[in-house]
C-alpha cells in the first residue's frame, strides 16, 4: 500500500477559527483551501487539503490571529511510491 510521505500533521481548532484566510494566502506551498463548512461562530473554516506539501515553515502557525493552527512535525518514513533507487531514502533524508 502506497503511503504519501509528509513532514507534518496539521492541526486546526476549527471552533476558534474566524475565517480570515491568512493561512490560505500565506502558505508558500498552497496547502490550505477555504471550505464551505461553517463553524459554531458562523465563520467559514480552511482545510489543509495538501497537508503532504507542508514544509513546516510555520508561517500559518505564527500568522494565525486565532492561534488555531499547530504544525506538528512528524518523522517521515518514506514508503516506496514506486520501486526506484533514486527515490529511496538514505539516512532519513531524501536524496536525489
Amino acid at each position: 500500500m502506497d503511503e504519501i510521505e509528509r513532514w507534518a500533521h496539521i492541526h486546526i481548532r476549527n471552533s476558534e477559527c474566524k475565517g480570515c484566510r491568512f493561512c490560505v494566502e500565506i502558505c508558500p506551498k498552497r496547502v490550505y483551501e477555504m471550505t464551505t463548512t461553517y463553524n459554531e461562530q458562523g465563520y467559514r473554516v480552511p482545510h489543509p487539503s495538501h497537508e503532504e506539501e507542508c514544509i513546516v515553515c510555520r508561517r500559518c502557525e505564527t500568522a494565525c490571529p486565532d492561534l488555531a493552527i499547530y504544525i506538528e512535525r512528524v518523522n517521515t518514513r518514506l514508503m516506496r511510491l514506486h520501486a526506484s533507487p533514486s527515490s529511496q531514502m538514505i539516512g532519513g533524508r531524501r536524496c536525489g
Partner: protein, 283 residues
C-alpha cells in the same frame, strides 16, 4: 486533517478556557499574543514571576488570555500601576500591553516619565491607528486625512512618531515592527523582556473591521499585504527618521538598545543613602 484534541505548544501560556478570543476576524492582536507567548518561552520567563498589566481597549484585553498574573486597569494608567508593582517587588517581570490611544493619548504623560525613569518594564504598543474598542475614533497615531468616527471629513491632525518619543524620553530599548514580521517581532519581544530597563516595542497592527472598513483598506489579508509591502527594516537609523507613512513606507527595526541604570537599582542606592543618614543621626 483537523485534530482538535491535541495539546498545542502555547497552551500552557494561555487561559484556553477563554478562547475563542474576542478580537475581530483578521485582527493583529492575536498575532501579537502568539509572538509574545513565544518570546516568553524563548526567554524562559518563569510564569510565576510574570505580571502583565493593561489599560483599556482591544489591546488591553490581551493579558486576560495569558496564564499568569494579569491586571486590567483604568484607561491610560497601566504604566504607573505597573511601576508601583515593579517598585514594590523588583523580582516581578512586569509587562504592559496597550493600544496607541491608551498608551500615548490619555497615557502619554505616564509613558514619558516611565521611560525617563528607565523603570524596568516592557511596554508593547499595538498601533492600529485608531480607538477600535469604542468604534473607531481618532487617535494620536491616526494618519493625516484618514477617516474616523470623529474625523468624518478626514483627520486634520498629524500623528505622533511613537519610537521617536520613546527614544527621546530615555527608553533603553526601542523597536518598531508590524504583525507581518512574526519572527523578528518574537525576537524583539524577547529582547525587551530580557532588558533591565524600559523597553518599548511598537507593533503596527491591522484593524480590518473598523479602521480598515472606514478607510476602504480591503480585507484583512489585503491590509496584511499592504503592511508587508510598505515596511522596510532599517536598524541603524535615528528614531526621528524612522518615518511612518501608512501607504508609502513604514520604517521598522531596532532603533535603540542602550545601557542605562535601572530604576529599581537607583531606588536601592537611595535606600543605602537613607540608611547611612540614619547611622549619622539625621532624619
Amino acid at each position: 486533517m483537523s485534530r482538535e484534541k491535541i495539546k498545542f505548544p502555547l497552551d500552557g501560556l494561555l487561559r484556553r478556557d477563554r478562547f475563542p478570543h474576542l478580537w475581530c476576524q483578521g485582527c493583529g492582536l492575536g498575532i501579537i499574543l502568539g509572538a509574545f507567548c513565544r518570546a516568553v518561552q524563548e526567554a524562559d520567563i518563569d510564569l510565576d514571576r510574570l505580571v502583565v498589566i493593561s489599560g483599556i481597549g482591544c489591546a488591553a484585553r490581551l493579558p486576560g488570555y495569558l496564564n499568569c498574573d494579569s491586571f486590567h486597569a483604568t484607561h491610560g494608567r497601566a504604566i504607573p500601576l505597573a511601576s508601583g508593582a515593579k517598585i514594590a517587588n523588583p523580582d516581578l517581570k512586569v509587562v504592559v500591553i496597550g493600544g496607541d490611544g491608551d498608551l500615548f493619548a490619555i497615557g502619554g504623560n505616564h509613558f514619558l516619565h516611565a521611560a525617563r525613569r528607565n523603570i524596568e518594564i516592557s511596554v508593547i504598543c499595538s498601533n492600529n491607528l485608531n480607538y477600535g474598542m469604542t468604534g473607531g475614533q481618532q487617535g494620536p497615531t491616526t494618519p493625516l486625512q484618514a477617516l474616523t468616527k470623529t474625523t468624518p471629513f478626514g483627520n486634520w491632525e498629524e500623528p505622533l512618531n511613537l519610537v521617536e518619543l520613546a527614544a527621546a524620553a530615555g527608553a533603553a530599548y526601542v523597536a518598531r515592527w508590524t504583525v507581518t514580521h512574526t519572527q523578528r517581532l518574537t525576537r524583539s519581544l524577547k529582547k525587551g523582556l530580557e532588558k533591565e530597563g524600559f523597553a518599548f516595542i511598537e507593533v503596527v497592527s491591522p484593524c480590518p473591521a473598523i479602521y480598515g472598513e472606514m478607510n476602504e483598506q480591503g480585507s484583512a489579508w489585503q491590509m496584511w499585504e499592504e503592511l508587508e509591502v510598505v515596511s522596510r527594516i532599517q536598524d541603524s537609523i535615528l528614531p526621528s527618521e524612522a518615518s511612518f507613512d501608512l501607504h508609502e513606507r513604514i520604517i521598522c527595526g531596532e532603533f535603540i538598545d542602550r545601557e542605562r541604570v535601572g530604576y529599581t537599582l537607583r531606588l536601592r542606592q537611595n535606600r543605602n543613602m537613607a540608611r547611612q543618614e540614619v547611622l549619622a543621626g539625621y532624619g
